[in-house]
Symmetry: D2
Subunit: 263 residues, 4 copies
């Protein structure tokens, strides 16, 4: 097994300054620990529970910020796409940057989106739908591969287990690793989807627990939404990891990863 990598950053681009601050702060921690790092932020939250919630700066401005951060830091960046049309636009806007396109969980079966993302030639990270069996994700991988793109990974973020609750079935990790590299999303996995009041809750106290478990089960990378002030985050603050805790969590994960890696 190789090095455990991190995909991390704020849920949504709140401002260029905030994104740059977060990227720099996380980069410093991952550099110290020798963890390969991909900066993550969304330019649009396209499926908020409520129509009134903040969605982000939009594709054009969001990609400008991402490209600027990529250029200035040399970091790879990852962002979500929501329609086939978005894919070439985002890819073009990021130009020279090393870009990962992410397929949101609800959209993991939308064939045109997967094909359009694949055809950009960028690396694709597909989140497993909360309603999809792990073994069914091989079809999502196949949609990308059949479009001529071999750089595809899968991401576990919990399965619907009753209403307004997600459970991570750790068996999904080895099952999906038969198809592609697997990333564990430790922050959306502790989300408690909208309980009817229009805002999703979260249980950030379980982020280290589930992330350690996933790394022990075996994954290639970890996805964590990190914020310097979760209570004020413009999206998904309830399940974000506080920046102050990132170093400690990563140290735990590296220790577990070392324990399960062949010498």
């Amino acid at each position: 097994r190789g090095k455990l990598f991190l995909i991390g950053g704020p849920c949504v681009l709140e401002s260029e300054t905030h994104a740059r601050t977060m990227a720099a702060a996380i980069h410093r921690i991952t550099s110290d620990l020798g963890v390969p790092y991909i900066f993550k932020a969304s330019y649009d939250k396209a499926n908020r529970t409520s129509i009134r919630s903040y969605r982000g700066p939009g594709l054009v401005e969001g990609c400008r910020i991402l490209a600027a951060i990529a250029k200035d830091t040399g970091l790879p960046v990852l962002t979500d796409v929501h329609t086939p049309e978005d894919c070439p636009r985002v890819s073009d806007a990021l130009g020279e940057a090393e870009l990962f396109l992410q397929i949101p969980a609800f959209l993991c079966r939308q064939t045109d989106l997967l094909i359009a993302a694949a055809e950009t030639g960028r690396a694709i990270n597909i989140k497993k739908g909360q309603f999809v069996a792990p073994s069914d994700m091989k079809h999502a991988v196949q949609k990308v591969r059949d479009s001529g793109n071999q750089r595809v990974s899968l991401c576990e973020r919990g399965a619907s287990f009753g209403y307004n609750n997600l459970v991570v079935d750790m068996r999904s990790l080895p099952i999906m690793r038969e198809y592609a590299p697997v990333v564990f999303d430790g922050t959306h996995s502790v989300q408690t989807p909208s309980a009817g009041d229009g805002v999703s809750g979260g249980q950030p106290q379980f982020i280290p627990v589930l992330a350690r478990a996933a790394v022990a089960a075996g994954v290639d990378g970890v996805f964590l939404e990190v914020h310097d002030n979760p209570a004020q985050a413009k999206s998904d603050g309830a399940n974000a990891l506080h920046l102050d805790n990132l170093k400690g969590v990563l140290e735990q994960l590296l220790a577990v990863h070392a324990a399960v890696s062949p010498r």
Copy 2:
């Protein structure tokens, strides 16, 4: 309570001839029984499990067929939309026809899709996601209403209950009826989503059971995918209702509906 209506037809447009035949056959049955009828067929199956499955004739040709059927029969028609861009195109193509735009279950939280559909002014039928609590559907309804469109209905089609299985929680019907009229989808509710071999299965023997139960619980309409040869259907044949059984099922449903309607 008013008359129980039917949304029915083949899953996907297989050919103009087939669609016309199905519409005519179903129309004859519903006319005999006094059931208001909306013809249903998709021009594109955008989330097939496998990239190799049949998807349909596409938006342009599909809408041409739907418009022709609407014109010749006078029937309202319903079809799925998958991206915001689809919505005005479909609405324009259907012109004078009475059109219902349907939001697929996986996409029921995509804000832009709901807004674009709402802004056509057409009636909107939102399928409840397999991962969504009934009470959360009020936010989907609100997204349509806030866009200035009051003609919105909700559709129950089962919730993820373990892998590759759906369960209908009949409590969802009265819960969602507090927000909008509710339709029960009796054929997707008996689907057994892809078990890893790339094709979804079904249990059509339970269609009458669940549909009777839903009508007894209380709904405004019923959605049924009907085919004259399910074994040869190009999509979702495994859970389709055979045309030969439609009359018998509708008679049962009308009897139950009468039993639970105030005199």
Copy 3:
């Protein structure tokens, strides 16, 4: 199909006076409606969430009350058994009365309990465990039949669907009817099992909805815990049907039953 019967009464025997009052009140309603009626009450609630909750008068005193009610009213009676030793003791105590022994849902796989109950020769009603697939109940039926007792019925009362929530999968009714007559428990099906505070909640507003749905799907009888003052009930008051609502609910169920019965 035959007449729809009712198993009904308070969850637990609170006092002889209360039990007699409830039996008489329910009997009056069922007689008026022509519904065959079995009086139900438990002498011991053996699996309360909290050790501090009321459990009942115990086997000896409880059976004395049940026998007295059976004798004075001529009604059949039903009560729960929890260990193999209970079975002959309860059966003997009830003597001439027409007695149904009920196997609680949590205990539906305890082989010795099923055998001991079967060996009394009394009719056996087995509740389906919240963790058991409908098709697995054929093995429970077989345990009774292999013990020489053919009088066995099955009872649906909801399946675990996430934490502290139950969902009724109406498909279970026709599946289990292939093995034995089926009863729908309309009051435990709306229970919300202990959410950590040591008391189970309930949603009695959904009793008529689910009971109508189950009768429309097709059952032989209905089980309802009825109380004249649910707020003060000593067990399961949160999901009990108020006595004042019984007549109305039964009238709805009879109308639905007639609608789905062959003429």
Copy 4:
């Protein structure tokens, strides 16, 4: 955190010779690795799916074998109890041996069983029911403590997640550890409960995955059913760990445990 302990052995006592062989073989491995070891075997499988399956030698003969093994090896032993009456009988039969009484998952809410087990003064291991929320297990612990017995542990073995499938929610481990020490059952967690053919299946390939994950999440001990010939085991062979794999699995678990233990 202390040393990670193992509860292990065959599901059921197949014969004295077999039990002695298994105890010795496992003891050798755990001694080499410095793992505290409790021998586990059941004298009666009281809830087999089918009435025709093997149940064991019974209480008297089973306890004789367990006592003999305890005496000759000095090992603590653990066995299941199923009725209140069993508890003092088993406790008395084991005499001087260090005995753990285990409450089966289906029975974890049976108040009398918990009290009778507690009153023996023996250590109690309560399996979490497949239908119970982790936070509700505090009531089971309280039933034991209120009976004057403070030596109680809880055991995770998966939650019902759809029919015939179990999922381990790793959040349950820290939740339950607030109430008592927690053991992770790595073999029943990979069980696929009876799919209607009267025999439960299993996925032993996931035992190391889930056990590593649980140890990384944080537990006090691990429970593993171990057999030298799973294909011929008289109970639960489909989900047993092969004896040949025990050493390798334990080595992995110790490495993970060390990685997550404070230095």
